[in-house]
Amino acid sequence: MEPLSNTLAAPDRKPKRQRRLPTEFGILAVLIGIALLFEALGWGIRGQSFLGNQQRLLVMILQVSVVGLIAIGVTQVIITGGIDLSSGSVLAVSAMVAASLAQEPGYARAVFPSLSGLPFIVPALCGLVIGALAGFINGSLIAITAIPPFIATLGMMVTARSVAQVYTRGQPISMLAENYTWIGSGAVPVVIFLVTAVIFHIALRYTRYGKFTYAIGANPQAARVSGINVNRHIMLVYTLAGLLSGLAGLVTSARAQSGQSSMGLGYELDAIAAAVIGGVSLAGGAGRITGTVIGTLILGVMTSGFTFIGIDSYIQGIVKGIIIVAAVVADQYRQRRRRKV
């Protein structure tokens, strides 16, 4: 394995590191800038601190934990040069399947009256497997039929949403048992999000898995020639992204104490936005989990900030859209200037 990893564009090689490290600093500066802006507005408008409130800091991360989980998966997909539009729908299927196996015993309208009171591991595992399976189908379609990832995952997005609806003919699944809902309560989603981020950060930066992922995104031809089983690796990356959508489905249904077929609507776009804000290049081959986490936090800070200073619901979307684009433009501009120097 030694010679192989030497020939690949390893992301942690010395010269690259010097060029890349500031990328996250740039986006971190944007995050801090936005937070400070709300801090100032907070004192001006509401007469209290925006950041000096532990509960609010928790809420900021809590509300984007689910999107963050999806974003971690989508980041890796984007690094390989692909895209995943199916995350929100896959989340819904996992949420429905898991919820249907996690209902309280003795509930009259249970989906499977005979399957109540199961141990936590059953619904959790089923939800995760469903997610991974959907991801595996995405990856296989892309690797084997060579159709564009945009199309393959668009198909999955439509299909999975419909599967979620068909599963109970649109009926929500309620009365989830407490041994299931704990993964959505309190700060648990935040812990899951951050632990997952650390795991995949390490995987991408320090393992062969990561080197292959970047290599395929930078140049699939070269990756193939240097002996990487590109198809198998693509399948793996999409399967992991599906698995994370499944995990997001578990957390979402546990938080709401309900499984609903409309869950996760549009989350895939928020996740892609978080990754792109965090400096993940849609061209593939570049980007890191740290950037995506910061991008996710920017979305969370904005949501809390708007509500905090009482910006009208009607114009929040306008401001949010502008900030997303401005953050990326600023980052691009800064990078270009650096390269000229």
Binding site: N53, Q165, G170, R255, A256, T307
Partner: protein, 304 residues
């Protein structure tokens, strides 16, 4: 007297059977929860009255719905019941039915015709009332004073705007109640949870939550629980009387929800259509009232 009544009902039954009335029904969507209840009620009432019903699913497509109506007219059905996909497209439908001299009943969604001509009627609930019922009940719960927050449905949706306007109207009449925050959570439980979390941390003293639907009210309840506040100490209101909403009413967490009578709408639509077929006059607006659901009467709705 009893004999006379029996004889009368026998004649009615006979005449209905003799005519074998056919009614064409086009629904916006077959897979919508509430509309399915309306559809089931239409089917049940049609069966009870000995009417032949033909159901069509417009699949949320106005063009498709128009063709379905034209097909009904070509088939010479005795009456048409329409649950409009898009209420702004109804004048065209009205025109078609009137030209063909076929009675037409709109159900559930209020047509935007300036005025409905004879032999055309609307059977539904007045959206302006649901928010009012919710608001008035919350005022009672608040004993006339305190800060409340309003959770709105999708901002492009008429029901969300009307329900919010109703709440604001009720609040305006009670000077000691103040709306301190108002924002959309898009009818969604998770979004409502996040929104409520943010409001709680903003530090306003909140005594009540007026949500445009039950799902968002439940989101607020979950957020309060997680923040260590007992929802029972607050005044929380929703609309829809969903199964989950009713169980929160039973728990005492949800103070009020409002029931929209799907059965009443479906039955009312058949009744109006049959009356018009027989040549009787029907008021152009048949109101099926919203019903307030609280701890006192929630049990009657559990089975509906």
């Amino acid at each position: 007297m009893k004999k006379l009544f029996l004889a009368l009902s026998a004649t009615v039954a006979f005449s209905a059977a003799a005519h074998a009335t056919t009614i064409g029904v086009t629904m916006d969507k077959f897979d919508d929860n509430f509309l399915t209840s309306v559809r089931n009620a239409i089917a049940a009432e049609g069966k009870a009255q000995g009417v032949t019903l033909q159901f069509e699913d417009a699949q949320d497509d106005t063009g498709k719905q128009l063709s379905q109506i034209q097909n009904f007219i070509a088939q010479k059905v005795d009456a048409i019941i329409v649950n409009p996909v898009d209420t702004s497209a109804t004048p065209k439908m009205t025109q078609l039915a009137v030209a063909a001299k076929i009675p037409l009943v709109y159900v559930n969604r209020k047509p935007e015709d300036k005025e409905l001509p004879a032999n055309v009627a609307f059977v539904g609930s007045n959206e302006k009332v649901s928010g009012k019922l919710e608001g008035e009940e919350l005022v009672k719960c608040l004993k006339g004073k305190g800060n409340i927050v309003v959770m709105q449905g999708q901002l492009s949706n008429n029901a969300a705007l009307d329900r919010t306007a109703d709440i604001e109207e009720v609040v305006a009449a009670n000077p000691d109640i103040k709306i301190v925050q108002k924002q959309t959570a898009n009818w969604d439980r998770n979004q409502a949870l996040d929104l409520m979390n943010n409001w709680i941390t903003a530090g306003d003293k909140i005594a009540g939550v007026a949500a445009n639907n039950d799902e968002m009210a439940i989101g607020a309840i979950l957020a309060l629980k997680q923040a260590g506040v007992d929802p029972k100490t607050m005044c929380i209101g929703g609309i829809d009387a969903t199964a989950d909403g009713l169980s929160e009413v039973a728990n005492g967490n949800l103070y009020v929800t409002v029931f929209q009578n799907a059965t009443g709408q479906g039955k009312g639509a058949i009744d109006a259509a049959l009356k018009m077929v027989k040549g009787e006059k029907v008021s152009s607006y048949v109101d099926v009232p919203f019903e307030k659901v609280t701890k006192d009467n929630y049990k009657t709705y559990m089975t509906k």
